[in-house]
Symmetry: C2
Subunit: 144 residues, 2 copies
DNA sequence: TATTGCTCGACAGAGAGACTGACGATCTGT
DNA sequence: ACAGATCGTCAGTCTCTCTGTCGAGCAATA
């Protein structure tokens, strides 16, 4: 059983990858096989009434070009629309379609279900603490 | 301050990415800019006396071709060698060079340093619990 | 021993997802 | 009115992963 010590990086990556497989596997089974993990950058950051491409890119921490690539894919599959901004001739507003909103809802639900399964495996208390510590870590990161 | 609830996936991904940036940034600063995160799949799984390509691929959960791509890069930069297996004419044994061993040592050291910084930010006790809960999660994953 | 089937690693090709650089169109502040 | 900043796009590149195919070598058996 000589448990070799894993790096913290690996301890984050392994559960993350498992979570991702679960969630996007279920999403595919529920009728959205075209949604890939990278698309979550759009769903996570898009506003209720739409957002600019540049805003999305900024929030997701990626280039406009990369975000455009993701948005194009989602637009082709009918999950978002991209319409001209009436207030700015250069800009376009990306909005979720009803189909896209269903996907977002599914993603949030699947995420919650996955978290509940984790709680079932390691215990409610521990799962709650795990979340809290991660939140604190993230807060520290964001503080600088 | 309307803290919106993040998914557990995001709470794993954000610290993971930050950790990765820290570690590979420092590694570059210490003279190994050619080592990229994907290469850790090799360093993490290679045995003390070398391993077969197929074994590495299996352990890393990727195809032989993908592992060969990573190994080729490391071999070109002098971090590993790939020599014929005397016991099996088909196989080749991938081994760390002294340079590769230095990289492995740096990676482990940088990982430990990063973990210590986390402990400094969220507290020793919490960091220890965080690691323990993640280990339990991973153990549960491996159990099936 | 000869054959049959499996395994090892390589070759070729593809695709996702990120990047940089350059650019025309448009907005904004002076 | 103009200079400079910003919006999104076009074109090209790179990393990292995948599939499919294949020749060479190993192992078990008829």
């Amino acid at each position: 059983m000589t448990e070799q010590r894993r790096t913290l990086g690996a301890l984050l990556r392994l559960p993350h990858d498992a979570l991702q497989r679960e969630i996007y596997g279920s999403l595919a089974a529920r009728g959205f096989p075209e949604i890939r993990p990278a698309h979550s950058a759009v769903f996570r950051h898009i506003g209720l009434h739409g957002s600019r491409l540049t805003t999305l890119a900024e929030r997701a921490g990626m280039t406009k070009q990369s975000m455009a690539y993701l948005v194009d894919g989602l637009a082709a599959a009918g999950h978002v629309t991209s319409t001209p901004d009436p207030d700015d001739g250069r800009a376009r507003i990306v909005r979720l379609t009803p189909k896209g909103e269903r996907v977002l809802a599914e993603l949030l639900a699947l995420s919650a279900e996955a978290e509940a399964r984790v709680a079932a495996r390691i215990g409610d208390r521990r799962a709650a603490r795990l979340r809290r510590y991660l939140e604190q870590w993230v807060a520290a990161l964001e503080a600088g």
